[in-house]
C-alpha cells in the first residue's frame, strides 16, 4: 500500500491557511479530504470549503479515524490546525507519523515555534496588527435566519472596532431570502464583500445546516456581540413570510436577486 499523502497545516491568525489549502486542491486531480482539528461545533472553514471546492470531502474526527484504518488509494488529506493549538501537544496516530507539516506565516516571520515544527514554511498574507493576547470567540448560529440589512450593519460595526480590536473574523449566515452567505475579514487587508455559498436556498423553516461566526481579537465585547447578533435574527413569523415571498417569485418564474 502507498504511504498516505497527509499534510498538516498550521500558522498564525489570518495568514491564509484555508486559502493555501484551497489553492492546493485546485492543483490536484486526486480526491481531497479535509478536517479542521479545532472546529468543534463552529465549522466555518469546513462549511466554506465543502460548499466552494468541488471534489473536497470534509470529515469529522471520528470519520478520519475510520479512514486512517481503511484508507482509500488516491486520496490526499489536509488537516488544518487552529493558531491556538499547542503544536507539541499533538499526538498523531501511527499512519500519520510521516505526514508533511506546512506552516503558513506572514512574510518576514522568523524563529517561531512553527519554524521548528514545519517541514515547509509558506509565505502567507501580511499581518497588519499583532495582538498581545489574542482571544478566540465563536458562536454557532445554526437554525437562525438573519435580516440582511441588520447583518451588514453588524458586520460593519464589528470590523470597524465597535466591539473591540478585531484581527480576524469570518462567518457563515443564513439570510431571509434562503441564501447562505460567507463573510471574511482580515485586519489591514482590503475589505471584501460577502459571497453567496454554493448551497441551495433554504426556504422551508429554520435551516438545518451549519451557520456561525469566529472572531479573533482583543478586548472583545462578547455580550454586546452576542446581543447584536440576536437582534439581527428573524422570528418564526418573519422567516415564514420572507420564505413564502421567495417561493412565490420562483413559482412565477421570476429571477430572485
Amino acid at each position: 500500500m502507498q504511504p498516505l499523502n497527509i499534510t498538516l497545516v498550521a500558522g498564525s491568525i489570518g495568514a491564509g491557511k484555508t486559502t493555501w489549502i484551497q489553492q492546493q486542491v485546485h492543483t490536484t486531480a486526486e480526491t481531497v479530504i479535509y478536517l479542521s482539528l479545532d472546529a468543534g461545533e463552529t465549522a466555518v472553514d469546513s462549511t466554506y470549503l465543502a460548499a466552494e471546492v468541488p471534489g473536497l470531502t470534509v470529515l469529522s474526527a471520528v470519520q478520519l479515524a475510520n479512514f486512517l484504518e481503511h484508507p482509500t488509494d488516491g486520496c490526499v488529506v489536509y488537516l488544518e490546525l487552529g493558531f491556538h493549538i499547542d503544536l507539541n501537544s499533538i499526538i498523531l496516530p501511527d499512519p500519520m507519523a510521516d505526514c508533511r507539516r506546512v506552516a503558513v506565516l506572514p512574510p518576514g516571520t522568523r524563529h517561531t515555534e512553527w519554524h521548528g515544527w514545519a517541514d515547509v514554511v509558506v509565505t502567507g498574507a501580511e499581518a497588519s496588527i499583532t495582538l498581545r493576547q489574542p482571544h478566540l470567540w465563536r458562536s454557532a448560529l445554526s437554525g437562525q435566519v438573519l435580516d440582511s440589512a441588520s447583518l451588514n450593519t453588524f458586520w460593519y460595526e464589528l470590523t470597524n472596532g465597535a466591539y473591540g480590536t478585531i484581527q480576524r473574523a469570518k462567518g457563515i449566515f443564513d439570510v431571509a431570502d434562503g441564501r447562505s452567505l460567507y463573510f471574511d475579514f482580515v485586519a489591514g487587508l482590503p475589505e471584501t464583500t460577502d459571497m453567496e455559498l454554493n448551497l441551495p436556498r433554504w426556504l422551508n423553516g429554520r435551516p438545518d445546516r451549519f451557520s456561525g461566526i469566529e472572531i479573533v481579537g482583543e478586548a472583545l465585547g462578547q455580550t454586546a456581540i452576542a446581543q447584536t447578533l440576536k437582534d439581527c435574527c428573524l422570528d418564526e413569523q418573519a422567516i415564514a413570510y420572507y420564505q413564502q415571498q421567495i417561493k412565490d417569485l420562483i413559482e412565477q418564474g421570476e429571477e430572485v436577486a
Binding site: S150, A224, D231, C232
Partner: protein
C-alpha cells in the same frame, strides 16, 4: 436679516449648546427649530427646557410625536430589524425619563411654521415621518414646496444637510370635468428651494460635528454651518445613563444611531 435653522437635536445637550453659541457668534436675528428634540440622546429634558427657555419657535418632529402618542409605526419606519430594536430601546428609555411637562410641551408643537416666504417642517409638509432626500424626484420635490405656498422649504429628518434649487420647473396639467372638453394648462413654477438643516445632535455625514443652516434674507444666501463640540461628553453620558454603548460608538463617527428607512418617501399610515 439672518435666520438660523436647526433640527434633530435628539437629546444631545452638548451639541445644542455649541450650536447656540455659534448662532450667537454669527449674530443671527431669529432661530427656528425643526423638531426631534428627544430620542437616542441622554439629555432629552435638558434640551427641551433650553428650547423653551429661549422661546425658540419649534415644529414637531417624528420622535417628539412618538413620545407623545406612543410608538405606533410599523417596521416600515426602520431599515432593518436591528435598527428597529435599537429605536425601540431608545424610545423606551426616553419615555421613562421624560418629565410630564416636557411631554406636554412636545404635544402642543405645531407641525409647520411660517415666516413670510419661508416654511419650516420636520420631514415634509405632508408628514413629519417623510424623508425629503436630496435625490428625490424633482416633481415630488417641487410639489412639496408648492403645497406650502412658500419659496423656501426648510426641513430636517435626514440628518444630512443640503440645499436644492428647483428652477425652470415646467408643469403641465390636464383639466377634465363633465360637460366640458379637456383642457391642457402649462405654467412654469418660479424658483423654489429646499434647505435641509442637517442634525445638531445625531449627524449622519461621517463626522461627529453638529450641523445647522443660516439664511441671510437680504443677500438671499444660505450657509451650511458645521460646528465642533465635545462629543465625547455626550458619548460618556450615553453610557452612564444606560443607553446602548453602540449609540456612543456611532455618534463619535457621525453614523447616526439608527439608519434611515429603505424607501425614504414611504410614510407609515398607521
Amino acid at each position: 436679516m439672518k435666520v438660523a435653522v436647526m433640527s434633530c437635536i435628539h437629546g444631545n445637550y452638548e451639541a445644542l449648546n455649541a450650536v447656540l453659541s455659534d448662532i450667537d457668534d454669527q449674530s443671527a436675528d431669529k432661530i427656528y427649530c425643526l423638531g426631534d428634540l428627544v430620542g437616542y440622546g441622554p439629555h432629552p429634558n435638558a434640551v427641551v427646557e433650553m428650547i423653551r427657555a429661549l422661546d425658540i419657535p419649534t415644529c414637531q418632529g417624528c420622535w417628539d410625536e412618538d413620545i407623545v402618542e406612543g410608538l405606533n409605526s410599523c417596521e416600515c419606519s426602520y431599515p432593518s430589524v436591528l435598527a428597529e430594536k435599537r429605536g425601540k430601546q431608545a424610545h423606551e428609555w426616553t419615555d421613562q425619563v421624560i418629565h410630564p411637562e416636557v411631554r406636554e410641551f412636545l404635544a402642543q408643537l405645531p407641525l409647520s411654521l411660517r415666516d413670510d416666504n419661508l416654511c419650516f417642517v420636520h420631514g415634509s409638509p405632508h408628514n413629519q415621518h417623510e424623508y425629503l432626500m436630496p435625490e428625490v424626484d424633482a416633481f415630488v420635490a417641487l410639489e412639496r414646496v408648492l403645497v406650502t405656498g412658500a419659496d423656501i422649504l426648510f426641513c430636517g429628518h435626514t440628518h444630512v444637510p443640503y440645499v436644492r434649487s428647483l428652477d425652470a420647473g415646467q408643469l403641465q396639467i390636464r383639466v377634465k370635468s363633465t360637460g366640458t372638453t379637456e383642457r391642457d394648462v402649462s405654467f412654469s413654477a418660479p424658483l423654489k428651494r429646499i434647505v435641509n438643516a442637517g442634525s445638531v445632535g445625531e449627524p449622519r455625514h461621517g463626522r461627529p460635528n453638529a450641523t445647522y443652516v443660516i439664511y441671510n434674507t437680504d443677500a438671499d444666501q444660505i450657509t451650511l454651518r458645521e460646528v465642533e463640540y465635545d462629543y465625547q461628553k455626550t458619548c460618556a453620558a450615553i453610557i452612564d445613563n444606560g443607553l446602548p454603548p453602540i449609540f456612543a460608538w456611532r455618534l463619535a463617527r457621525g453614523l447616526e444611531f439608527a439608519e434611515r428607512a429603505d424607501d425614504p418617501t414611504h410614510v407609515c399610515e398607521r
